[in-house]
Amino acid sequence: MSQIRLRRLNKSYGSGARELHVLKDVELTIEPGELVAIMGSSGSGKSTLLNVLGLLDDYDSGEYWLGDKLMRALPERLAARYRSEYIGFVFQSFNLLGFKTAQENVALPLYYRGVSRAKRNRLALEYLERVGLGARAHHLPAELSGGERQRVAVARALIGQPSLLLADEPTGALDTTTSDELMTLLEEIHRSGITMVIVTHEPDIAARTQRVIRFKDGRVLPGEAA
């Protein structure tokens, strides 16, 4: 069974003459454990695709299968549950809560799963250590470097033990060296068996994945969607 399967998926924004057809008959299959890059110029629809994959956004027609479940017109409550159970996010702008320490940020997804505080904090520390930030657990995001912040975000994405990690331009706000380090970390994590989809416009990053899916004008360019 595939991890992700999209069948003739369409999505538009707006309506009438101002309608913007963002995803056009997208066909896509990603196998469990794959490390895939999605590339495309800005406005190609790749971020929208990631949002659909992450259940942050709905689509108009077609099918999206996550594992053996059809993700279609989900009530918000259910989407929130699936996000919490199956999907981890890493964003370009980190999206850490500025008033919470690294440890609290990492623990947050478990809060919404009803895990006790003691257990969440213990696990959060464990995951921070895994990304090499055990010593920074009690720092606020503002006290961390960009690379460190993104590693906190990675730890937060992983703490719920998702089967799918979605990264939206994870190195977009980082310099070359830290980008390199972050990719090394993501590769390491990938080796533990998680499926990973990275949206990027940097060829260096894409080159380190197993497969590159190119997007243009809301379509997957042929020959590359297996």
Binding site: N51, G54, L56, D57, E76, R77, A80, R81, R83, S84, E85, F89, F91, S93, N95, L97, F99, K100, L108, P109, Y111, Y112, R113, G114, R117, R156, G160
Partner: protein, 416 residues
Amino acid sequence: MLRAFGWLSFSALDELIGTLRRKKLRTLLTGLSVAWGTLMLVVLLGFGKGLENGIVYEFRDDAVNSIFAWTGLSSVPYAGRAPNRDIRFLNDDFAALRRSFPEIEHLSGRYWMWGEFSVRRGDKHSAFDVIGVHPDQRFLEKTLMTAGRYVNQRDLDERRKVAVIGSLVKATLFKNEEPLGQNIEIRGLAYRVVGVFEDEGGEAELRRIYVPITTTQLVYNDPGRIHTLGMTIGGADTRQSEAIERAAHRLLAERHQVSFDDARALRTQNNLTRFERISAVFRWVNGFVWFVGFGTLLSGMVSVSNIMLISVAERTREIGIRKALGATPFRLVGMILAEALLITAVAGYAGVVVGVGIVELAAEKLTDLAYVRQPSVSVGIALEATGLIVLAGALAGLFPALRAARVNPVVAMREE
């Protein structure tokens, strides 16, 4: 159910206080407007209660459901009788009322011992009101016996010279001696003290001496004469009570051949009517108090709601992130609602406490204010106010919370 109230858990509270702490000044100002609202409500209700106490105090010493009748000179001719007749109640009137009105629970005539005289015992003497009464007078005046007994029917039948004295009479004539069985001298005749009483009516009533009405009629050589009549009417409501008052008035007017409308010849007064009239005024005042207090509280609520809306708008990004991390709309509604509830509950409670303090202080300082007596906040009112606060908090948080639940995470996280 446990999941539903997850935000009530300890860590949720932690989450909450963290948020409020980040916006100290704003939280403080918002809380202040709620606190002011509950403070006003409590203070106003406290004084409303004081007003009520004042009214009850006015009626404290007589039975509320009582009717009194007294007579004077007739002012208009009636049934061929000339005016200026001296109308006088007699024992027959007493008997007629008893016969005709089974609704009357207690009935008593009164005969004031008139003239200049002092009451003596040995070398001690002072002027006291001495009144001849029927046994039921005790219920009309709400007299509280502290020792011995009241005037009874056998006293009346045998025209005994017995006296029931108020506590101040006892203090004057007996000091610390035992008064029961002792004699006191009233207008040169010895009366045996058979009872001592207290009365909430104040000093004047405690300086009274009650004796059998038949005895006073005898010593004044005024056979059958009754100065005034008083009666109580069980559990009658105002309408029934007024009907009985009219019927009794008509009966007495007929017996004495005076016009029903001749207010100088014969007059009745219904305490219940008076009480109801004043109570109605009080109810209006009380309603007004709630209206004003509630209005103030409402403006506090609106400001909480406003602040929470701003807060939600400011935290759109945070809410988006929380959603991406698996927060259900319900949890977000809970989060915002709990914030609103916490602000209103803490601030509102503080307002209640300060308000109660003010009312208590006022009760202590303003002891001689007319019409206001012992303003106080009952447990019931405090509970009502607390309930209102909780309701207010929930209502204030509802709209902001629903807005938070509708935040689109994609749009929210794009914001910087």
